[in-house]
Amino acid sequence: MGTVPPRRRSSMRIAAQNPERDTLVMRWVAVIDKIDYLALLRLPKTPSGPSEDDVRRAYRAFARAFHPDHYRTASPLVRDAAARIFSAGAEANEVLSDPMLRVRYLRCLAAGEARPRLEDLQKATREDARAAHKPAASLATTPQGRAHAERADKMIELGELAYAKGALEDAVRAEPGNAGLTAKLAAVEARVYAPRKGGQR
């Protein structure tokens, strides 16, 4: 403590200019507003979506590449580009690592919408959270839908979330325009994906 280590200038690292990297950054920033979150974090597109660990690992690799700390000596153009890319990636991480937002986002993606507005997603998840507390049967409006919804409620009570999800999917198929049932399904999907986190909301 207190003693200063001897220093040799020669061993100091010199950050070299990197045209290859800069070109890549500019190529990324050109597509940044168009590509979906999975492509942005270079996550594979699987039917069930990426796992929590996948997202975390991908985000770290992403941050390693684009965090503004690495671009302090780059030209302002590249630096701003990297900051923009990082902001988008951080948003992708936020959405994909939140069980509720993730369900809604993957649904948008399946519908062909790569970059829904974050505020719309958040609004949808607030509805989902409200629906999570209501029994599905109270949300259904047709006899057929109610039958499926009641089955779902029973399954939720038993803790059989995967079956509940199936029943709710049937209910939504019976009543395609029912926003309440869709929200309930999203809430259950989030719980299937992350039992502890999804349940807390």
């Binding site: 207190g2 492509a39 790569a114």
Partner: protein
Amino acid sequence: MATRGECRIPSFLPGAFPATWTVGRDGLLLILCLGNPCDTLPWLSTAIGIDLGTTNTVVAVCAEGQTSVLLDESGANLLPSVVSFHPDGKTLVGRDARKRRVIDAENTIFSVKRLIGRQWGSPEVEKARETFPFKLEEGAKKAPMVVTRAGKFTLPAISSFVIKRAKEIAEATLGERVDKAVVTVPANFNDLQRSATRKAAKDAGLEVLRVLNEPTAAALAYGLGSHGTEKLAVYDFGGGTFDLTLLEVSDDVVEVIATAGDSFLGGDDIDLAIEGQITRAIIAQKQLDPRTSVEVMALVRAAAEHLKMQLTKNELARVELKAIGYGEGGVPIDFEYRLSRTQLERLAKPYIDRTLTVCADALRASKLDKSSFDGVILVGGSTRMPLVQERVEAWFGRPPRIEWNPDEVVAVGAAVLAAMLTGKQARPPKPPENDAAASKRGYTPAAGGFTPPAAPKVPSFDLPGLPPPPPAMFDEPVGKAPHSMPIPDSANIAVPSVFPVAPTGDGPLLIDVTPLTLSVEIVGGFIDKIIPRNTAVPCTRTRRFSTSTENQREVVVRVCQGEQDRAGANTSLGELLLSDLPPARRGELFVEVSFQLDADGILHVGAKDEATGREVKTSMRVSAETG
């Protein structure tokens, strides 16, 4: 053939500096540098870490992968954050200044950190005007100024004296030029406070590489050597503030998950409680009120702090206060006071309990539970109290880590980041061996005998209510409105197949979060959150708003920071006016507000009229540089 021109040297390096060249008569190429090479070549100068504390400042450097705290000529690691203006025209900083607190209270400035970046008329400044012995006055742009015999100074100017002294210490110890620094601030400092701190360092001749959150700095000092994913909690209980920060460290990436804190809770509060006890005892036993004399109160205050420090090691401590008054015939009255650790702990318990309430709040925000943490790091002088260590251990269910000196760990972390940012590889620092053993339990106070000069202490402030907020222009945010986001066909977009490899990619990386929610005021004085707290920075968020009145011609975007529902209860950062809006029915004109927070915590705000595409922009740092 050209015989003279301009070039940049060395051309193969980034940050090359401008130069001119000429071909001399004998064919020799002459190159003349323009400007100071140190300004553009990071490796020609040293970057330090500065922990600018309320009470003490610590400076550290990280070189060759080794981090050390820099000591002044007398071997002290703590530089008191006190500035005193001597009658002979000299400006004293540090310990010499602290000694003058009792003799020359009006010209000795301390605890600037409490007020820096706060506006004239804010509750904190009002309270300080009542309690601080030095005089405050309103300066330009509502910034408080201190009035001394040497003239008026802004608060960043006072802080810059301390930073200048820290820089001198560093330059004297290292024997080289120091012109860059990472400066730390409490996690819950808002943007105004951060920019004011940045300005202080700039005035002291340092380029601020980063304004870093203190707990994050502490984790940097500890976390880098670990492998695999680790979740850490940083419990920072200092002289004036308390913060808890939750971090996830993995593969050299430090990610902040959540932060929470209380800016009016610290060791000072415990000192004040002891002070109250002593005062009551003096009144009861000697029929003397020490509060009537500034000098005696300073003595009592020093005694309280001394007792607290003694009781970290001993079960019982005593102080003797000499000449607290004069009896008949001018006989000085002495007073002896004893305090046991049990008594101290009874006094301190409510404050420690309050820290644990904040801990519970932070955990709730992060949706984690206590058992998911792999380590708890203690930071700040108050964490030396055995009771704090016990309570933290009981609460988290694991013994906290105290290998680094809790007073120094923040500066060490700042130094590590400074080395990282200047491209000098920082290997994981190792806590000094001897210290690790010494700080196992019960820290040894630096000063042995009872001669500590009265440390600058500030009573904790109560925050009275704020005036009602001004009317806002915005209606509730628009939910599902038609938007023109194109639905892309990802097959047609040429997405690069790899990420770029950053040159410093093998060093540790820090992903910080914004500690306080950034919002805009909406109708009724409420707020709408644009960037919620604990969002990774840098970040960009946009939100659409609609007008709240018929034919509204202008919209004022009032930006505030804080966790309260009412705009008036949060800190106002500034405002942005978007005028000349085309006439439209209420609720039919949309304004897109964008917030862009950069890695240094500076906020850029934009407001765009969607119909005409007209946009106004501002940066909150501009309005923040009031000092």
